[in-house]
């Protein structure tokens, strides 16, 4: 079994972390550039290879039609859901998809889980390079307010990346875990998490028991389409409007120029977290440079609507936990967008408490995921996480209404049973529609699945089928049914309303091999074999050299047995063994190498070429 890691699959950046056994502290793993942040950007190279992270981000400017960012916004959503996103984001959606969104990159189409799997695979490679070992299991974080379909899509992405997803952990809960380990906090904690594309608020109770610490989530709320991206969109729209007025230039919203401007504006936004003012100088087509001085005050006026929108879920989460803002013992800020002074001030005033910002807000979620990964790897011994389902689970009843069967903020795993019977004689099926959401009508809730419950033909009202709806520890729904009269369990084929079915996944797994780099262990075996072959060839050549006759018999015997051992190891797939036999052979040939080197020197002096030795 390989290593286990924690992964924060973010809208803007993704990170991978592990728990360092030496310090018992979680740590983020850097990529080739030395940075721990992997921009969540994927680009399809014209040669067909997939490029992820910083190199892909640079291609946003040069090859925008082959490059995608913020794909998390599309996870687990249907084509009809994303019409609004399309106005703001340069997603090119393949119109032929019906229940699944397909995004166009160059001449190919990919589903959002496939694109996310490329990011996960990149992080997996980072970790494998760092450890020098295979990584095959992961804890992946998701926004707490993600629904069933969004969670399932994330799990699918993990599977496509060759990772066994041991658990999906809610991002604010992960952050609380990281802080708890760091600060030894106790009492009631609010985690305010404003990321690139999503907002979550979670209220937790940290309880010390004789067995260890329990992190019990009391309530959670959020908005899966509210984040730093929205701030950038507001800034961009503002400047587009200015430029249209002063220079009569109408930016095509997703062209290279718009991407370039967006990059500049993000830099301005970051500067204004420290400085009181910052100046944008943007060269326009035609030669003029657009200049605009932003003050922090002006920026805050512009982005206040975004920050205000976060307070609606905050109020709801507190109400659900039966708490007032001043009941909280600690407040924690998570997510890059909480660096904005306006956010900090707003949160501080609301809770009347200085929020914690000690841990890097970009890294804290990945660090918490690493803590949970370690718990799952070694069993619960000092910490236990009890999370909740963010949305009520319901079933459609007569007249399109929804009967809630598992209320929001129920501790998961959670379940509910419903008893079904037939209304007419010999009815053989009952249609069941499962929904998630707080509204009263089915049409206003999120459709999770529809299925037809098979019923044995019998007089009306006689069949009694108990359907069990279970939300597992990942927040994902499972459905099973039992015939009460016969006791037989029915398996239920649940077709998700949005997302991939098993056949889709199967097919994508096959296709993913095309893009996948070889498995880490496989790569190691191939590399070791190649090196071994060249050592074996060199040794054979050296032994044939006349100078090799100066070797003692035991020396020659030692070399020959090492050669035989290495040849045998190369036949197998244990790369560590191959390396060991290579080392042994290298040691055994030390004297031989010396002999050859000396003779080479002599030959050189005698005017012979080295290659002739």
């Amino acid at each position: 079994m390989g290593r286990i890691v924690g992964i924060d699959l973010g809208t803007t950046n993704s990170l991978v972390a592990y728990l360092d056994p030496a310090t018992n502290q979680p740590k983020c793993i850097p990529g080739p550039s030395g940075s721990t942040l992997c921009p969540s950007v994927v680009s399809l190279d014209p040669d067909g290879s997939i490029i992820v992270g910083e190199p892909a981000r640079r291609r946003l400017l040069t090859q925008p039609e082959r490059t995608i960012y913020s794909v998390k916004r599309l996870m687990g959503r249907g084509p009809a859901d994303v019409q609004n996103e399309l106005k703001l984001f340069p997603f090119r959606i393949d119109p032929s998809g019906n229940h699944v969104i397909r995004v166009q990159l160059g001449d190919k189409v990919f589903t959002p889980p496939e694109i996310s799997s490329f990011i996960l695979r990149e992080l997996k490679n980072w970790a494998e390079t760092y450890f020098g070992e295979t990584v095959d299991r992961a804890v992946i974080t998701v926004p707490a307010y993600f629904n069933d379909a969004q969670r399932q899509a994330t799990k699918d992405a993990g599977k496509l990346a060759g990772l066994e997803v041991l658990r999906l952990v809610n991002e604010p809960t992960a952050a609380a875990l990281a802080y708890g380990l760091h600060e030894e906090q106790r009492g009631k904690v609010a985690v305010y998490d404003l990321g690139g594309g999503t907002f979550d608020i979670s209220i937790l109770k940290l309880i010390s028991t004789s067995e260890g610490d329990i992190y019990q989530v009391l309530s959670t709320n959020g908005d899966t389409h509210l984040g730093g991206d929205d701030i950038d969109n507001l800034l961009q729209a503002f400047v587009h409007e200015q430029i249209l007025q002063t220079d009569q230039i109408d930016f095509s919203p997703h062209g290279e120029l718009a991407q370039e401007l967006r990059k500049e504006l993000i830099a301005i936004k970051h500067k204004l977290s420290e400085a009181e003012s910052a100046t944008l100088r943007f060269p326009l087509p035609g030669g003029r440079v657009f200049v605009h001085e932003f003050t922090r005050g002006a920026l805050e006026a512009l982005i206040r609507p975004v920050v205000d929108r976060t307070m609606v879920p905050v109020n709801q989460a507190l109400a659900d936990a039966h708490l007032k803002p001043t009941d909280l013992d600690e407040v924690v800020l998570v997510g890059g967008a909480t660096r904005t002074p306006l956010t900090r001030r707003t949160v501080q005033e609301y809770f009347d408490r200085k929020p914690h910002t000690e841990l890097n807000p970009d890294e804290v979620v990945a660090l918490g995921a690493a803590v949970q990964a370690d718990i799952l790897d070694h069993g619960v011994n000092s910490m236990l996480l009890l999370d909740v389902t963010p949305l009520s689970l319901g079933i459609e009843t007569y007249g399109g209404a929804v009967a809630k069967i598992i209320p929001r903020n129920s501790t998961i795993p959670a379940s509910a049973q419903e008893l079904y019977t037939t209304g007419v004689d010999n009815q053989t099926g009952i249609d069941i529609h499962v929904l998630q959401g707080e509204r009263e009508l089915a049409k206003d809730c999120r459709s999770l699945a529809r299925f037809n419950l098979r019923v044995p033909a019998a007089p009306a009202g006689l069949p009694r089928i108990e359907v069990k709806f279970l939300i597992d520890a990942n927040g994902i729904l499972q459905v099973s049914a039992k015939d009460i009269r016969t006791g037989t369990e029915h398996s239920i084929e649940v077709q998700p309303s949005y997302g991939l079915n098993d056949n889709d996944i199967e097919r994508m797994l096959e296709e993913s091999i095309e893009y996948a780099e070889q498995d880490f262990a496989e790569r190691q075996v191939i590399e070791a074999r190649t090196e071994a072959e060249s050592i074996l060839t060199a040794t054979a050549k050296a032994l044939a050299n006349p100078n090799a006759s100066n070797l003692t018999l035991p020396e020659r015997a030692m070399i020959e047995s090492s050669v035989a051992a290495l040849k045998e190891a190369v036949q197998g797939t244990d790369y560590k063994l191959i390396r060991k036999q290579m080392d042994d052979l290298n040691k055994a040939t030390e004297h031989l190498a010396e002999l050859l080197m000396n003779s080479a020197l002599q030959s050189a002096l005698e005017g012979k070429k080295l290659a002739e030795v």
Binding site: I207, V380, A416, D472
Partner: protein, 227 residues
């Protein structure tokens, strides 16, 4: 349906070692997590009698203690069968805690396992003593909808409805008080073992729950119209 006040589950056979076991959650001979017995209930899960007064602190302690042991996090490396049982057991533990923690859900659950919960026909019917007031309220609601539709002045009507809402909210508090009293009666009847008395209290609790749900719906409907 049994109406015994016994708190322990009958012995069952462990799925793993096939020994008869007396544990509630874990096998007394091999220590493996046990399947939920068919006849188990939420009170038995917490090893408490079927009383309606529950000490919340103790319930929470027990919940946390059992969560440590039953949570799927403990079973990541276990066999698929054990993982399945852990998922089932921990979901039932959470369901049980959610239900027993809520005083009204607790009464509903108790009546359900005692086979005494009957909502059906009573649900849509106004309790007789409320008939007149409900009739008046519905008239005001209709009137408000009409005035709203025609764009007329709704201020007076709203005042009248707000007063009615307050009145019914008061009645809800009254029902909750009656429920509490009936719950106390249930607990003492359970101690004395008076089965006839228990039967009559069950009926009373059932009737109170129906009245409560009826009034609560009324209040919610009025609140919706006043928004």
């Amino acid at each position: 349906m049994t109406s015994s006040s016994s708190t322990t589950n009958a012995p069952l056979v462990c799925w793993n070692c096939h020994e008869r076991t007396v544990g509630t959650h874990f096998c007394s001979s091999c220590g493996k997590v046990l399947q939920v017995p068919e006849h188990s209930d939420y009170f038995a899960m917490f090893e408490i009698p079927r009383k309606l007064w529950i000490e919340m602190g103790a319930l929470e302690q027990k919940f946390l203690q059992l969560s440590w042991k039953l949570h799927p996090d403990n079973f990541v490396k276990a066999t698929p069968a054990e993982r399945e049982i852990s998922l089932k057991r921990s979901s039932e533990l959470n369901d049980a805690y959610r239900t027993l923690r809520d005083p009204v859900a607790r009464v509903e659950y108790l009546l359900a396992i005692e086979g005494a919960r009957k909502e059906g026909q009573n649900k849509q019917q106004a309790p007789p003593e409320l008939l007149e007031e409900v009739f008046e309220l519905n008239e005001s609601l209709d009137e408000l909808r009409e005035v709203k539709a025609s764009g007329g002045d709704t201020v007076n009507l709203k005042h009248r409805l707000e007063a009615a809402e307050k009145n019914f909210a008061g009645k809800l508090t009254g029902v909750d008080g009656e429920l509490q009293n009936a719950a106390r009666e249930w607990d003492s009847a359970l101690e004395s073992g008076d089965s006839a008395k228990r039967q009559s209290i069950r009926n009373k609790l059932n009737e109170l729950l129906n009245r409560r749900s009826y009034i609560r719906n009324l209040v919610t409907n009025v609140q919706k119209e006043l928004l």
